[in-house]
């Protein structure tokens, strides 16, 4: 060994003192983003002269039963500025932890930003008390419902290794056939069944072309969306305008709201969560169900294994394509339910392009939620919140309506590009498995 020590030159320290580039990037990114939030909030605070705002906890203003409450917005604005300032300081010193504490910091800054923004928008009113801040949460849940179904469908398929960008197409067909089934059976609940069946049908198409004919799955998704758009539009045009026929094909019943006893009396949360339609309650159930299936059951373990390393699954006797088929069909069923929202779940009869791009936002939620059912659902809730906010603020002239309408999509781009950072898709996502 003596010769060895003579010949070797080893530094006894651990890592070399080189600042990791990713760490620097994170520091800069956080400091810039928090800095922008701080500057914006400061601008809000300084440009607000009369910070009195009125709010109600109801979803709609009801001046008789619960009159709007007056509040001093400055008590929100300045603390929000303080939170942002602390966050900027932490980021500049690179002291934002990477653990869940860091997530709490991000969350606090986000809440501070939205609170400050709302106060600013509603403050400085010409007629005192004319415009009242309402509770955006019930609307958030409703608008997020189809997104969550779509995101769950995407998560299931992609966890099994099949890329599903055709969620939009599944929505459209689900919406159309939900309307038809509901009209035929004169029952809103049957509409859900129709939506599920249509979603499964679209899932089956995805499965056949992706797994049997090994078509490139991104191209396939685009083609399926085009197919669903054209087909639903064609079928709609074939329904005659004669009211006697039309009532059996495109005049669906709408799901009624069901108030859950006791739970719906909880302040704020009660009306938000427990005064909704059957479809929304199904959505809660599905989030729990998909998470449980994926992470607690044998089937879920197999689904994840075929999405990560199909050959490993094959060598222990798991039938890769069979598992993938199951996941794709179940995903189709969920997306079909999401589609049903656009007819029997909300507005009633089917119109061309009823899903209005929701499928693409659901796809963004999948990525933002890192292919995890719960996180994807949270991302979907975020989009629902942005939409609700936009609808509520549409008639206030503080910021241009166009900018407001674009804001959910801007938020998507920023969120996906900046905050999610490096995300890892299932390793075998989009790769067909062919036995050699």
């Amino acid at each position: 060994m003596g010769r060895m020590s003579a010949a070797t030159a080893v530094s006894s320290t651990g890592a070399v003192a080189v600042r990791d580039r990713a760490d620097v990037q994170r520091q800069v990114k956080l400091a810039v983003v928090y800095g922008l939030v701080l500057v914006t909030l400061l601008a809000f605070a300084l440009t607000t002269s009369d910070s009195t705002v009125w709010y109600t906890l109801e979803e709609r203003v009801n001046r008789k039963e619960s009159p709007p409450v007056e509040a001093n917005g400055a008590l929100v604005l300045w603390p929000a500025v303080a939170v942002a300032a602390v966050a900027v300081a932490l980021a500049a010193l690179n002291r934002v932890p990477r653990s869940w504490v860091g997530v709490v910091v991000h969350g606090l800054v986000g809440v501070a930003f939205f609170a400050g923004f709302l106060v600013w928008v509603y403050a400085d009113q010409a007629n005192a008390g004319a415009i009242v801040m309402t509770n955006p949460l019930p609307g958030t849940i409703r608008l997020a419902t189809p997104l969550i179904f779509g995101a769950l469908a995407g998560v299931l398929c992609e966890r099994a290794g099949v890329i599903n960008i055709a969620i939009e197409g599944q929505f459209l067909m689900g919406a159309f056939f939900a309307a038809v089934a509901s009209s035929l059976a004169y029952s809103a609940e049957m509409g859900l069944v129709g939506g599920v069946l249509a979603g499964i049908g679209m899932g089956a198409l995805l499965g056949v072309f992706a797994m049997r004919y090994l078509v490139n799955q991104v191209v396939l998704g685009v083609v399926l969306i085009a197919l669903a758009t054209g087909l639903s539009s064609f079928l709609l045009s074939q329904i005659p305008n004669d009211p006697d026929v039309k009532q059996y094909l495109n005049e669906p019943l709408i799901l009624p709201r069901i108030e859950v006893p006791v739970l719906s009396d909880i302040p704020v949360l009660g009306p938000t969560l427990f005064n909704q339609t059957l479809l929304v309650y199904l959505m809660y159930l599905c989030v729990v169900l998909v998470s449980w299936l994926l992470f607690q059951t044998r089937w879920g373990l197999r689904v994840r294994s075929v999405g990560e390393h199909p050959k490993a699954a094959d060598t222990v006797g798991i039938k890769v394509n069979r598992i993938r088929w199951q996941a794709v069909l179940l995903g189709g069923a969920l997306a079909g339910l999401g589609g049903a929202y656009f007819t029997v779940g909300s507005t009633g009869s089917f119109d061309n392009g009823a899903s209005a791009g929701n499928g693409f936002i659901a796809l963004a939620a999948v990525i933002m939620g890192r292919w995890h059912p719960v996180f994807a659902s949270l991302a979907a809730l975020f989009f629902g919140f942005m939409w609700t906010l936009q609808a509520q603020l549409a008639f206030l002239d503080k910021i241009p309506g166009e900018l407001l309408r674009a804001s959910p999509y801007l938020a998507t781009v920023i969120a996906v590009a900046g905050f999610v950072g490096r995300v890892r898709a299932p390793a075998a996502d989009g790769e067909p498995y062919v036995k050699s």
């Binding site: 010949a7 030159a9 580039r21 059951t297 044998r298 050959k311 060598t315 222990v316």
Partner: protein
């Protein structure tokens, strides 16, 4: 369990991968299958494991003929396999990987993770295979991952265990541990089919040796047979196991690397403060287990990765910030470790691949046009000089054998004047004949005064070529030693420490030497 293979044949179209193979594996024996890459070992094992259907022939277990439609049948019959590329899901825990396919559940298909962890603990204590059931596979060193594969096979009650090239990714110490594990398994009655092309291992652990060449069993030998005999059986002719070379005529320092540090996109330091020098007329061998920073070092030398700290100098000129084209133009020759990924374009012809990094030179282009005649002459000359076995210069490189593909890459890199040759795994997946040839050319390049840097995970190759050996571990050069240093000493360096415990437990300990 007694496993017999009778007349097993597999044809792919007109190509016969396995030709009427007969083998018998007795209970509790370690049966070595020796053969070159492409000899048909893997095809045979895939048939035995139900991944391929035999064209003809029979598999007989304890006197009963069986057919395996899928791995599930083979597993049920008591056959387990540890694949060369591990069949483990990297983001799953050890226990989840072990139970996959035969999950422990508590009704309703709900996973029972505690039970699965218990199974792993039980097997690991019974066969002395230390592993933490809750660790994630991607966090474990390869040696431990291999143990997980063995546990996985044993949890399926394997009576015959197939180990497909299990030592390719291990340090010498890990190889010793694996052999100990194999002996322990044998003591407890498991038979092992040990597939390898390394003669020393076969002799160390085998009870019986069968040699496969071009899809046929060409003979069996006892473990007492000499290495030369075995090599001859494997290749089909007398082979020279040692490269003839004169003592190095060492010149001046050509390439120098100082305090080079590289951080990967995930934030890990994959190269830590590396300082090295390569001198003209000398082969510097870089030894180390795969994944200890060699890949990043080579990429940094070529300008494929931008170093986060440190400098690289070529003839005194700072080339740290050069891109690949500037590096190649400056006179660095590059044989990449994964030739199909970085070395050639598979669908391009041999002729085109021979000028992939030369097409811009005056010899091969004029203005915007290529000089097709010159390219053709070049191809003919190189094919002859390097003995590239191809139907024609038009043949796509993809359809050549591994050895000939590598010769195309080597021929191209050697066809311009070099100051430094960087060759990573120059003979991986290459037949013995081509290995001899490529080694000779590398030595010839050295004798011409080029500084040669060879990166190899095969110690045999390092010993055959190197005039100086640098050993890498965990992103650092942990030692630079002479070519006569004993194997054990280099092995200890490759494992990162004198104690040799690092790789076994998977924890990071500091290097002392």
């Amino acid at each position: 369990m007694r496993l017999e293979i009778k007349g097993l044949t597999k044809r792919f179209g007109s190509f016969t991968a396995n030709d009427s193979i007969d083998l018998t594996i007795e209970p509790g024996e370690i049966h070595c299958l020796l053969g070159e890459n492409g000899a048909g070992k893997s095809t045979l094992m895939n048939m035995l494991y139900g991944l391929l259907d035999p064209t003809e022939g029979q598999i007989v277990v304890d006197g009963e003929p069986v057919t395996f439609a899928s791995p599930r049948d083979a597993i049920a019959a008591g056959i387990g396999m540890v694949h060369q590329h591990f069949m483990l899901v990297p983001v799953f825990s050890v226990a989840e990987n072990v139970m996959l396919g035969r999950e422990h559940t508590r009704g309703l298909g709900v996973l029972n993770r505690r039970k699965a962890a218990e199974t792993v603990r039980e097997l690991s204590s019974r066969y002395n295979l230390a592993v933490d059931p809750d660790a994630l596979i991607e966090d474990l060193p390869v040696g431990v991952q291999q143990r997980v594969e063995i546990i996985k096979a044993l949890s399926h009650d394997a009576k015959v265990l197939i180990l497909d090239e299990p030592t390719a990714v291990l340090t010498p110490q890990e190889i010793d541990e694996l052999m100990e594990i194999m002996r322990e398994l044998k003591r407890q009655g498991t038979s092992i089919i040990f597939i390898t092309h390394k003669l020393r291992e076969v002799k160390a652990v085998g009870d019986k040796i069968s040699v496969i060449r071009r899809g046929k069993v060409v003979g069996t030998a006892p473990p007492t047979a000499s290495e030369t005999e075995l090599a001859e059986m494997m290749v089909g002719r007398a082979v020279q196991l040692v490269v003839d070379k004169e003592p190095a005529n060492v010149g001046e320092e050509v390439l120098s690397v100082e305090n080079l540090t590289v951080v990967d996109p995930r934030g890990h330091q994959v190269l830590k403060d590396v300082t090295l020098a390569a001198r003209g007329g000398e082969v510097l061998g870089i030894a180390g287990v795969q994944g200890n920073g060699q890949t990043e070092l080579v990429k940094a030398l070529l300008g494929l990765v931008r170093p986060d700290a440190g400098t690289i100098r070529l003839d005194g000129e700072d080339i740290t910030r050069h891109g690949p084209r500037e590096s190649l133009d400056a006179g660095i020759g590059y044989v990449p470790e994964d030739r199909s990924h970085d070395g050639y374009v598979g669908d391009f012809s041999v002729r085109e691949n021979l000028i992939l990094d030369l097409y811009r030179t005056d010899g091969f282009s004029r203005g915007l046009a290529l000089r097709l005649d010159a390219i053709e002459q070049n191809a003919d000359a190189r094919i002859k000089e390097f003995d590239i076995r191809t139907e024609s210069p038009e043949t796509p490189v993809r359809s050549l054998s591994g050895g000939n593909q590598q010769k195309v890459v080597v021929a191209r890199e050697f066809s311009r004047p070099l100051k430094v040759l960087v060759a990573a795994q120059p003979t991986r997946g290459v037949d013995v004949g081509s290995i001899e040839f490529i080694h000779k050319r590398i030595v010839a390049e050295r004798d011409r005064g080029t500084a040669v840097v060879i990166v190899s995970t095969e110690l045999d190759e390092i010993y055959a070529l190197a005039d100086r050996i640098a050993v890498m571990y965990d992103g650092r050069v942990v030692g630079v030693v002479g070519p006569e240093t004993p194997r054990e000493e280099i092995g200890l360096l490759m494992a990162g420490a004198g104690a040799g415990t690092t790789a076994a437990t998977g924890t990071d300990t500091e290097v002392e030497a």
